[in-house]
Symmetry: C2
Subunit: 352 residues, 2 copies
């Protein structure tokens, strides 16, 4: 679990105070990985406490994070400084948070990040790393994974060393997100809850977190809240939803959206929505409520994104999806292989 967390509107201004005791020395910089949507946001940038050799690196979140991107960032940081940084701070959505976690790990573990995709392959503790979410839903701020697209697979680096040492939850930072992005990312959390709560791996621990997050999602997406309350509640939903899957597992929507993402580069939030919209047979109640939320917020999902794919392309998506065995086992049960066939997946993908 994340060992330290502050929560509150405006709490981002505490960043300097939080980092100060963690600075190793004047030569060891803090590296801030910041979503480039904030590059011209003077008010946010002014609050990043730069001292000595500290550095901001702006990164686009237009594409999902990649192992090659992590390796390049690590190489640049190492070339740029004679000593290891004091810490890595990720400021942004799931992409930036996952990049920050991966970079912090790869600064102390040899080789390429793709060698660590999987479960508990990381050998050494990473350097100090801090997460500051600026959009709510992914749960990346609390999870023990960092999900990367590698040469052969979209898969997380899951380890006890992955979680942030410190998280700052400041709901004010989520202001200015577009309605679509807010919805897609928020639905990531909603789908986490449905997949966790209906899965085989569910237990009393995860259930209490999942039910809390689900109830917050329903308030945010089906009721009419004032903006501040809605921001606060969605940030907490993301947190609890992330905790719920940390001790259980996701399911069909994630297994299939990873395929879309690997082949077509579909971003995670919207990809989950595109897939989940067609999963009535697996999650009847969850999908019904999802369609209500979609209607209430006038969201039109892209249609026919798989219309012109070749058989070879379908095979690639199906391979990626089927490789995520724990997700299928959680969703369907130990005998999932008898029920989830390649042709069934192809039929489902064809509808999207």
């Amino acid at each position: 679990m994340v060992s330290k967390v502050v929560f509150g509107r405006g709490s981002f201004t505490q960043l300097g105070e939080i980092l100060a005791p963690e600075r190793l020395n004047e030569s060891a910089p803090f590296i801030f990985l910041v979503d480039d949507v904030f590059e011209h946001n003077a008010s946010l940038i002014a609050k990043i406490p730069l001292l000595y050799k500290d550095q901001i690196i702006f990164i686009s979140s237009e594409e999902e994070p990649k192992t090659t991107q992590v390796d390049k960032l690590v190489e640049d940081i190492v070339l740029n400084s004679s000593v290891l940084p004091s810490g890595i701070i990720g400021i942004g959505g799931g992409t930036l948070l996952d990049l920050a976690k991966a970079v912090a790990l790869m600064l102390t573990n040899d080789g390429s990040s793709h060698e660590y995709q999987g479960w508990d392959l990381i050998k050494n503790k990473g350097i100090y790393h801090v997460g500051v979410p600026t959009i709510s839903g992914t749960g990346a701020e609390v999870s023990r994974t960092t999900i990367l697209t590698g040469p052969t697979m979209k898969l997380g680096i899951n380890s006890d060393f992955t979680p942030f040492d410190q998280v700052i939850l400041d709901p004010e930072l989520t202001e200015g997100v577009s309605k679509e992005q807010w919805f897609y990312t928020g639905m990531d959390c909603y789908i986490h809850c449905i997949e966790s709560l209906t899965g085989e791996y569910i237990n009393s621990f995860s259930k209490t977190y999942g039910e809390t997050a689900l109830s917050l999602c329903k308030e945010v997406f089906l009721e009419t809240l004032i903006q501040e309350e809605s921001q606060d509640k969605l940030m907490m939903a993301s947190w609890h939803g992330g905790m719920s899957i940390a001790y259980s597992q996701v399911g069909v929507a994630h297994a299939m959206s990873y395929g879309l993402s690997f082949l077509l580069g579909t971003k995670h939030g919207i990809g989950n929505c595109i897939v989940f919209d067609h999963l009535e047979e697996f999650y009847p109640e969850g999908v019904e409520l999802f369609k209500k939320m979609k209607a209430k917020h006038n969201i039109s999902l892209p249609q026919g994104i798989c219309a012109n794919l070749t058989d070879k392309q379908f095979d690639i998506m199906i391979d990626v999806s089927l490789s995520l065995e724990p997700l299928w086992e959680n969703a369907i049960g130990k005998d999932w292989k008898t029920k989830i066939t390649r042709s069934r997946l192809k039929d489902l993908y064809s509808k999207m």
Copy 2:
């Protein structure tokens, strides 16, 4: 926050596996502080993985933990071993968990534990410490405090170093607790929720934890659950209730029960119940529900425990209670001193 946690029926058997990588060397023992109710429980004792110079110390939880008791335990451990232990494992209720946290801190901080009662006075990280609750409700497994009775005050050692490094939540360990103790300790959690949720310090973070815990308490104490479900849910209620107050504060019941405890040695769980039973004016709905729970489980609380106290004794309780300023401020507001007078407290104590 606690950085590592396992949850599950039977998870206590993982203790050996969890401790192995934390052993510093063969000379540095793990010290197990175990509630002496388990001294003749062969099944539990057999699961404690003793190796090399590891040691079990049985401790009675008949009395609330004291600073002198912590100092004595630390002294004995230091005299007994030439090197610092590899870790301290507390197995029991709030008393044992708080003792384990305090001993782990005092092995690396000079002087007497009473010098650290307060907020953020601890200078050095304690040694590795693990908490294994065997009764649910106190939230001691997740809190950043260890509440001790010192020479002048009952007050916690609150610090970022206090929380456990590892917690094992195994609901099976709560089997065999008497109905009364189960109720009193469970009500500690219920009262945490009421005090946190109705307090001035409440925020969206604490609220989500508090509401989750409150809803679990209502299920456990007002509905009819099968035993396993009830044990699982109360263990999770304790966890979330503890998280809720970690980021907010408790209130009138705790402020007043500390007075009872300091003067009369009243144990925390029953002390909270005795006080809360008379707090309708502060928590009307919470007290009404408490009385329903009490009736459902045929609990008779002790009456007249303050009947024969002298004025001087009342003054001691009132002094202890009024010294807990953050609790009163949370419960009543910044102007609490105009509303909470010594005579009002004396009237309340006199009813108990």
